[in-house]
Amino acid sequence: MSAVLLPILPPLIAALAVLLLRRGGPGLALAGATLSLAGSLWLLVRVGGGQPETFLLPGLPEMPLRLVAGPLTALLTVAVATVGTFVLIHAVGYMKRESGLVRFYAIMSLFLAAMQALVLAGDWVLLLATWELIGMCSYLLIGFWFQRPEAADAAGRAFLYTRSADLGLYVAVFMLIGATGTSEIAPSLEAGGSTSTAAGLLLLLAAMGKSAQVPLQDWLMRAMAGPTPVSALLHSATLVAAGAILLIRSAPLLSPEALFFVGLVGGITTVAAGVIALAERDLKRLLAASTASQYGLMLIAVGAGVPLAALLHLLAHAAIKSALFLAAGDFQHARGGTGFDQLEGVGRARPWTFASFAVAALALAGIPPLSGFFSKDAVIAAALSAQGFAWLGPLALVGTLLTGAYMARSLRLLWRGPDETLAVAGGAWMRAGILGLVVPAAGLGLAFGSIEAILDLSMPDEGIGVVLLGLFAGLGGLLLGSLVSAQRLLGPIHQWAESGLSIAGGLAAWVGRPAMAVARGCERLEQGLYVTVLRTGHASLVVANLVRAGDERRINGLIFALVAGVQAMGARARTLQSGLIHHSLAISAVASAVTLVVLFLASLSF
């Protein structure tokens, strides 16, 4: 029982227990998550020193399944476990009124376990498996209210998008394994040359799918149809984070070309998603768009060659964004919806939640001394210091600006308006969850030093200028957002932004059609196969008919003849059976006499 298993097993067991017991879902899931948190902390403490822990499971021949806990992964497990725990706490309140809780908590726990396993995965095979697992779990969770058509549709969409992007991961993994001959991640990252470029690009594709980078951002907004805690978990620490985590972990692999594309995608996404967020009319969709843009920032950092910055921002963002989502869930309960038109003034109605929301928002906008400030600075510094492509810095700054803008806008919209509210069940649980996440969202920045110590990496020291730039961008964004309305800010592209910046029918046109074409091709091939199979079957049938004819003519004939003979003999034997005992006795006497004679003769002959 290696310490590596500690973060994974509890939620897994919890999931099974919930499924088996069919009751006590909240308690079990919470217990699982808390234990997982404790386990991951313990793991962090153990591997903080530097030497990683490995745990081997039997897997494919020559390539066993590895669980490797390095400082980085341990840190990530802590983040995942923390977010998961508090989200579950919040969910206890949020889901009070729902039915199908068994399903919910079981899948949540499974989701958590899968995520931990993915974070700790030491080889590509296990990574793929867990990757698929979280894909499935997110599908189930987004489609939790599968009775609602839009939820089911959103779930399907999310699944298909991520799946199609996952193809990249598959190909990349196979290329890497083929090139390096090992399924272990760490050594396979040393595969240099064109392989690394291609693999890097493919990994980027996969990450784009999961992290909803342009042009694959669409599904993330729609995924808001699921329960809010699910969104929180998805966005902050698990599903969406998986993409970034993948890139962060495989950063050593990426060749300059790959890095260029990573940075490009990140830059475009952060700007585009920011614009979309600015134009959104729904709080949760806004948060979703902002998630996309924040991950864009992280990709920028990766592209700039400073994955540490990306990691820091990932951690900070995890706390902040989950806090925001949980607050949004609270508002949703207060007003029975997440459209801004419904939510106007809810902030006044629920001051506590609003306060925590505001803190998280400011943190995201990058206001000191909140955590976002430090992480954003790290990212901006990385972007500016990126040698080669100078355009990363401006993009990052614009992203920051937009962040501030839409956050301010959301705050404004939530504050203005009437302050009536509905009765909210389980408010205490939700508030507990929110607070538990707001605290790290606020204070995580102060821990960055120690985190860097744990990872024994260090940021390139940014000049004061960088800090001021980041700060100004954030503040400027806030001012713009709070003073100017979205329409005037965006002007002509507002409409387009509201429709999610979909280019020529959006992804449906770009991915859907080719996919359908491929499917049609496959179908045609399948038809061909069927036809051949049927032909073979028919031929064999003909042969069988011939054989059967032979049987009937010869063998059956024999058998019938035999039966007839037996029947005739029986008819003859029948006459012996008068049914009278003395006749039977006489027969038996004669028979025994004959037997005796035979035996006697036999004894003579020997």
């Binding site: 003395h582 006749h583 006489a586 006497a589 004669v590 006499a593 005796l596």
Partner: protein
């Protein structure tokens, strides 16, 4: 030894005589009791052949067994007294032939076969009984127990066949015919 031969012969003749009488008389009770006496004579032959235990056992068992036979005759036959003198046989010629042939062959074997040396001295009676007991509960225990189980089965089966309702008389005679 002549005495022994004499007694064996006497009792043998008695057995044969009663055996013939069984099928000669037309009175059922008579034939049953004739059979009884025939069996008793066989038992006496055992005694004459110094097989005391078996002889006494035979005599004892046959008494009750044949008495039961008698009551069944009376129950199941019209004219048990044989006063009507009706003939109750069939396929006479075949039966006589079969009986004569069977007996004749057996006698021929008895006379012609070479029986080898004969033990003059029989073991003492008490010793016999003891030895037989040892045999029964020792080497041949399995056979003995099998016989016991068989009897039990027969009892139950016969009772089951015989009684539509529990009547003590039936149960009774089944038991003691063992």
């Amino acid at each position: 030894m002549y005495a022994q031969a004499f007694f064996v012969a006497i009792f043998g003749l008695a057995a044969i005589g009663f055996g013939v009488w069984v099928f000669r008389t037309s009175s059922m009770v008579r034939s049953a009791l004739a059979l009884l006496f025939s069996q008793t004579a066989v038992g006496c032959m055992f005694l004459a052949m110094q097989t005391e235990f078996l002889g006494v056992l035979q005599i004892m068992m046959m008494a009750t067994e044949m008495s039961i036979m008698a009551i069944f005759m009376v129950m199941f036959m019209m004219d048990p007294g044989g006063l009507g003198g009706m003939d109750m046989t069939h396929q006479k010629r075949f039966s006589i032939g079969a009986g004569v042939i069977a007996g004749g062959v057996a006698i021929a074997v008895a006379l012609l076969a070479d029986w080898g040396p004969v033990t003059p001295q029989a073991p003492d009676a008490a010793m016999q009984t003891r030895e037989l007991g040892m045999e029964l509960l020792g080497r041949s225990m399995l056979i003995f127990e099998t016989a016991g189980i068989t009897i039990l089965t027969a009892m139950i089966a016969a009772t089951a066949v015989a009684i539509p309702v529990q009547t003590l008389a039936n149960g009774g005679d089944k038991e003691d015919s063992e």
